[in-house]
């Protein structure tokens, strides 16, 4: 994924004043409005240190302003490493990383889902594990003196996940 930033001037018509309430209704997004843009999150963010574009404060501001399309379509949204440094140090207790996770969930709802997540979800449904564990690894366990790898209960997992809206993004692949 490339690190590109939308630097087009912001138009008033782009702003959705209800967007912040949509976020605040979701688990982890409740405290979005507390942010007063101090910048602690960005200055302490290990990813921001090396990324040209990832700035958590900016993402939070975009969400507050209701720049819905701009923020949900932004590649940088997926750069957060979920280290929770911002969450722990925010003087306003915004739970910045959780707000960013809420935004990612909303992007996913719109169908913006990086391939890696689709692959992991498919793998979990089939085997219980997020990665396809190679047969060689499973066989090797015996020679390493490890007990057999627990087999996931695919049926049980599928049953539990019934009705989860994210699964619609996997349908095209025949799931």
């Amino acid at each position: 994924m490339s690190e590109v930033e939308n630097k087009e001037p912001i138009k008033a018509s782009e702003m959705d004043p209800k967007f912040k309430y949509e976020i605040a209704k979701m688990h982890g997004g409740e405290k979005l409005m507390r942010c007063f843009q101090c910048g602690t999150c960005t200055s302490d963010c290990p990813v921001a240190k090396f990324s040209e574009t990832y700035r958590p404060r900016q993402i939070i501001r975009m969400a507050q302003l209701g720049l819905k399309d701009r923020v949900l379509n932004s590649d940088t949204l997926w750069l957060c490493a979920a280290c929770f440094t911002c969450t722990d140090r925010c003087p306003q207790d915004v739970e910045v990383a959780s707000v960013i996770r809420v935004l990612r969930n909303l992007a996913a709802e719109k169908g913006i889902v990086p391939q890696v997540f689709k692959e992991q979800a498919m793998s979990i449904l089939e085997s219980g594990y997020a990665y396809k564990i190679p047969d060689l690894r499973i066989k090797k366990r015996e020679t390493l003196g490890l007990p057999p790898l627990p087999r996931g209960n695919s049926e049980g997992i599928k049953k539990a996940l019934q009705g989860v809206s994210f699964l619609k993004h996997l349908e095209k692949k025949g799931e």
Partner: protein, 296 residues
């Protein structure tokens, strides 16, 4: 509930590519009298899917917790990501009745129910809280006084503080204490609590590897002879990727990356072969030699 009996939660990364951690952890725990019970039905903790579906993460985590409740045993996880997720969801569902009811609707058809009757712990927490430092010190037969190492905790063992409630995320001491219990010296270095970058791999390898590089540079600056991790993802970032980072930035580190149970195992008198040192990418012969010669 027997205090020394746990369901072992391997998660996905460990069986996928970090077997040295599992091998050494099982050996060390057995020696300390911790009984591990296998649980065939576990699924991914849910964390990898939290970015795209918080709902899916909650259900997957709750399913694991409900399975453990059926067995009536606490969970020990080797991966801080799994431990953190299971802890966080355990707390959320215990405190939020509406959410608990919603998630239980998903579990009901498989005959499962989340009640909030078990705990999930990371191996480090089990070592310090349940096994206890004295017992660990007593198990050391070959103190590693010849070694100077550095530690890397990883984020999810500590953050977010509100949910994890273990150690101090700004100045963590547990891993240092556990390292010093082996007789080795644990060195301080710059930005010890910084993230390894693993979760950004696949989104931007460039950013992720720069985070790992920064850490390796800081560890090298204090002349640490090894970096000790307690997370499979952090270990992949530093061990599997160390050569890649060296090539990319035209630098050399040569810092062996050990799983904490490997270090403890050495101090318990186990051999590097038993502790799967051969599974590590970065050459460990120098520190093995130090340990062997130190014995004489």
């Amino acid at each position: 509930m027997a205090k020394n009996q746990y369901l072992i939660f391997l998660g996905c990364a460990i069986p996928y590519r970090v077997s040295a951690y599992e091998i050494s952890a099982r050996k060390v725990l057995q020696k300390l009298g911790v009984e591990l019970v296998e649980m065939p039905e576990f699924n991914c903790c849910g964390l990898p899917l939290d970015p795209v579906s918080h709902e899916m993460m909650l259900i997957l985590a709750a399913r694991n917790l409900a399975l453990a409740e059926q067995k009536g045993l606490d969970i020990i996880a080797l991966c801080p990501g799994c431990a953190g997720t299971l802890k966080k969801v355990n707390k959320m569902l215990k405190e939020d009745k509406a959410l608990r009811e919603e998630i239980n609707k998903h579990l009901k058809e498989s005959g499962l129910e989340f009640k909030g009757t078990v705990n999930a712990k990371h191996i480090m927490q089990v070592l310090i809280e349940d096994v206890g430092l004295e017992k660990i010190k007593d198990s050391v037969v070959k103190p590693l006084t010849m070694l100077k190492v550095a530690e890397h905790n990883g984020c999810h063992i500590l953050r977010p503080k509100e949910y994890i409630g273990f150690d101090d995320p700004e100045d963590p001491q547990t891993l240092k204490t556990l390292i010093e219990a082996t007789g080795a010296t644990c060195l301080d270095y710059m930005d010890e609590t910084e993230c390894c970058g693993a979760p950004s791999v696949g989104v931007s390898d460039k950013v992720a590897l720069q985070l790992a590089r920064d850490k390796l540079n800081h560890v090298k600056q204090v002349s640490a002879e090894a970096l000790i991790t307690i997370c499979p993802f952090c270990h992949i970032m530093y061990d599997t990727n160390e050569l890649r980072i060296e090539k990319m930035f035209n630098e050399t580190y040569g810092i062996p990356i050990l799983h904490y149970p490997q270090l403890l195992g050495l101090a318990m008198g186990m051999s590097p072969e038993e502790l799967a040192f051969n599974e590590l990418r970065v050459d460990t012969s120098k520190i093995i030699k130090q340990v062997v010669e130190g014995e004489k």
